[in-house]
Amino acid sequence: MHEYGVTESIIRIVEDKAKEAGVTKVTSIHIVVGALTGFVPDCIRFYYDTMSKNTIAEGATLEFEELPLRLRCRSCADVFEPITREWKCPACGAPEIDIEGGRELYIKEMEVS
């Protein structure tokens, strides 16, 4: 639902970086998405095909790397990836946690020619 703005942002960042580096063609973009974000890769791809037309990054392949949800136990500080829907620390069994990872959304690198 909000992938339009995100896609616009991706193209803007890539265009800026390409200009800075003096390259003429971006062939692939590596995007990191946390498991807990609401962003849908297929939806970004859908917008990207249209929105990247006539830009330096037209036709570039989008590669998505999903980072797992990671939680930190507030009792014993163990960091874990929950297996079930129940977010309980596997080390000490405590249910009180903080979200440690899984909300990432960034461009890691791009391939240019």
Binding site: G5, V6, G38, E96, I97, D98, I99, L105, Y106, E109
Partner: protein, 220 residues
């Protein structure tokens, strides 16, 4: 063919605008509150009750976010010092407010004459978690008919909340909402959140919330 490392957050531009908004609120000694909930939980009723409870000594502005329509802004218009309507239909993000929309609203608001700005986000428990608006406090409303399992379905918004309003508390005898289970689930995700069970219909519990909010403003 070569690789260029980037490592740049895709939402960095939104965060920069949000930081700018926060600076404007700070400069004008104005507390900004982002009010979020699912559709129908009672955001507008809650804002009306908050204005009613605080308006004697607090100058309040409201930013109303909606996909379409101005019905909420019309309801708030007579009681708030200033109301700005944002319609997200046709904007890049229609499912949540983003920092730039608040930035534009602030230019049309007499911010120097306000003590508190209540921002009514678009009814949605997922998308608003991604976009910082420059607010000082995030308030999430759950209404009792929605059920106590909402935090398991939308953990991020509950983990982010500074205050959690449990609205429609007058319906507790009629719905299967387990208050203890709900507060425990939220507490497991969020150690510092404050709970306020209240009813925007009867007004019960609103005073406790208003006292807390007034205290938050005075602390800044």
């Amino acid at each position: 063919m070569s690789k260029i490392e980037i490592i740049q957050g895709i939402l960095d531009a939104n965060e920069a605008t949000a930081t700018g908004n926060r600076a404007v609120f700070d400069k004008n000694d104005c507390l900004a509150v982002n009010v979020m909930s699912a559709p129908g939980a009672g955001k507008t009723s809650f804002i009306l009750r908050t204005i009613e409870a605080l308006s004697a000594d607090t100058r309040i502005g409201v930013i109303e976010g909606d996909v379409v329509s101005t019905v909420d802004a019309e309801k708030v218009h007579d009681v708030a010092q200033a109301v700005i309507q944002i319609n997200t239909k046709g904007m890049p993000e229609s499912c949540a407010l983003v920092a730039d929309m608040v930035h534009v609203a602030l230019q049309r608001m007499p911010i120097e004459d306000l003590d508190l700005v209540l921002i009514e986000n678009v009814g949605n428990l997922l998308c608003p978690t991604e976009f910082d608006l420059g607010e000082h406090l995030k308030v999430v409303i759950t209404s009792t008919p929605e059920g106590h399992d909402k935090p398991l379905k939308y953990p991020v918004i509950f983990a982010q909340a500074d205050a959690l309003i449990i609205n429609k508390a007058d319906l507790l005898p009629y719905v299967d909402f387990d208050m203890e289970e709900f507060t425990r689930t939220v507490r497991n995700l969020n150690a510092s959140v404050q709970f306020f069970p209240l009813s925007c219909k009867t007004g019960e519990g609103v005073a406790e919330w208003a006292t807390w909010l007034r205290d938050q403003r005075q602390r800044r």
